[in-house]
């Protein structure tokens, strides 16, 4: 039974001689990424602890801009880095450990697009709603008292 594997990662910048070698290479990369996360998580550099941009104010376009730039407007850069690194890790686990790289293109799209679309939708709805409930609890005209 012939099983062909694509033996290069990082768009061909890192080539391997055999599948086994590629597996160890990917392990090295994933460990490296996890190490970065842990070191950042322990030391929490001050530069990354505050948002780099404050939200735009006034009008429709400000709201639009806030939605567009929401990852840097509302999120600490450190958290943004964590989430991006997690997605990088997820990519290499799926592509190389689960052999997504070797499946047909339509198979990849069937799995990834479906998942990504539904998950993005879910996250958007729930986080939006969570922020709204926060406003209801903590707004200036809030009718709920919780500080007792």
């Amino acid at each position: 039974m012939a099983h062909e594997h694509k033996l290069e990662i990082f768009r061909g910048r890192w080539k391997f001689k055999s599948n086994t070698q590629k597996i160890w290479g990917v392990l090295g990369f994933l460990t490296f990424v996890t190490l970065i996360e842990v070191v950042l998580g322990i030391y929490k550099p001050d530069v990354l602890m505050h948002t780099w941009m404050s939200p735009f104010e006034g009008g429709f376009f400000a709201t639009l801009g806030n939605i567009l730039f929401s990852p840097i407007v509302y999120m600490k850069p450190l958290n943004l880095i964590f989430i991006l690194l997690t997605i990088v890790k997820a990519y290499y686990i799926t592509w190389d450990f689960m052999h997504m790289r070797d499946e047909t293109g339509s198979m990849r799209k069937m799995v990834v697009w479906t998942g990504v679309f539904l998950i993005c939708y879910l996250i958007f709805i729930l986080l939006q709603e969570g922020g709204y409930v926060f406003e209801v609890y903590n707004g200036t005209d809030s009718l709920i008292k919780r500080d007792f």
Partner: protein, 332 residues
Amino acid sequence: MDSTVATGTEEKTWGGGNEPLKASYGKMMMWFFIVSDALTFSGFLAAYGFSRFKFINEWPIADEVFTHVPFLHGQELPMIYVAFMTFILIMSSVTMVLAVDAGHHMNKAKVTIYMFLTIIGGAIFVGSQAWEWATFIQGDYGAVQTKGGNILQFGEYVTVDGEQKFKRVSIDDIAIAQESDRATHERKNGLWFVDEATLPPYSVNEIYAGLMANENVLVRNQLLDENGHKTVLSRAESLKQIKENGKLVVKGANLQVNEYGTTLFADFFFFITGFHGFHVLSGVIINIIIFFNVVLGTYERRGSYEMVEKVGLYWHFVDLVWVFVFTFFYLV
């Protein structure tokens, strides 16, 4: 009864010989399952995000909660142990993919070894998670819950390397025993048909007396200031809060109350890591079954180790989910 009789049509398009997307039936079904399970997990994690956004100003700081490493008592080492667990799981993913690779080469001995290592890795992970749970439930410093359900914790300012730092103080160190308000109700000394759960280790009065006696101990509430630290109250305010609002002494965590902060925090911890741990456990069991099939030579006779590949997909998926749980529970 004659369902096993070959009709000779298996290889034709409508006879089941067709492989859409060039993936075999079993692998395709495993992918279907993985996509749906991924949605379940993202539902949980998004719900966690919802609750966290709802209490964004008072959510517990994970670094202060998960600080323990086995055999290193009393040291604050945030993240180290979870990072170790993550590495174990990624490592067992690697041995799994090596087993799959050995299967492609029909190398029974290697598949056996790698499957065995994968099972060991999974067992270490589940064990670590059990330990994490135990530590989490056991608790650390204890706290007082107010009437409004807020959590008040104790600590004092200490100078470390010329820098003022707020160091947590355990309720065990400050509580002063009082004439007990009441004893636990038991069937033998009260209503014989009613049970009562264990009472908290101390009463609020005992904690208040202790707080009075320890001049330097302060109370902090859950509200985060602009630097992401919890707010420490003044001495007068500390005493006032415990006296007027203190209702219940909390040590550790359960589903109703926990010493770390909002109840939902512990609930999501138990639910999400528990659901993931359950996946790992079932993965280990399935791996053991496949391991014995490999040892017995089932796949050798079948002429293909595809079963190892399918189980491998599930195992990697469990690893994939953990990567996200790790990020959203322990890092962000």
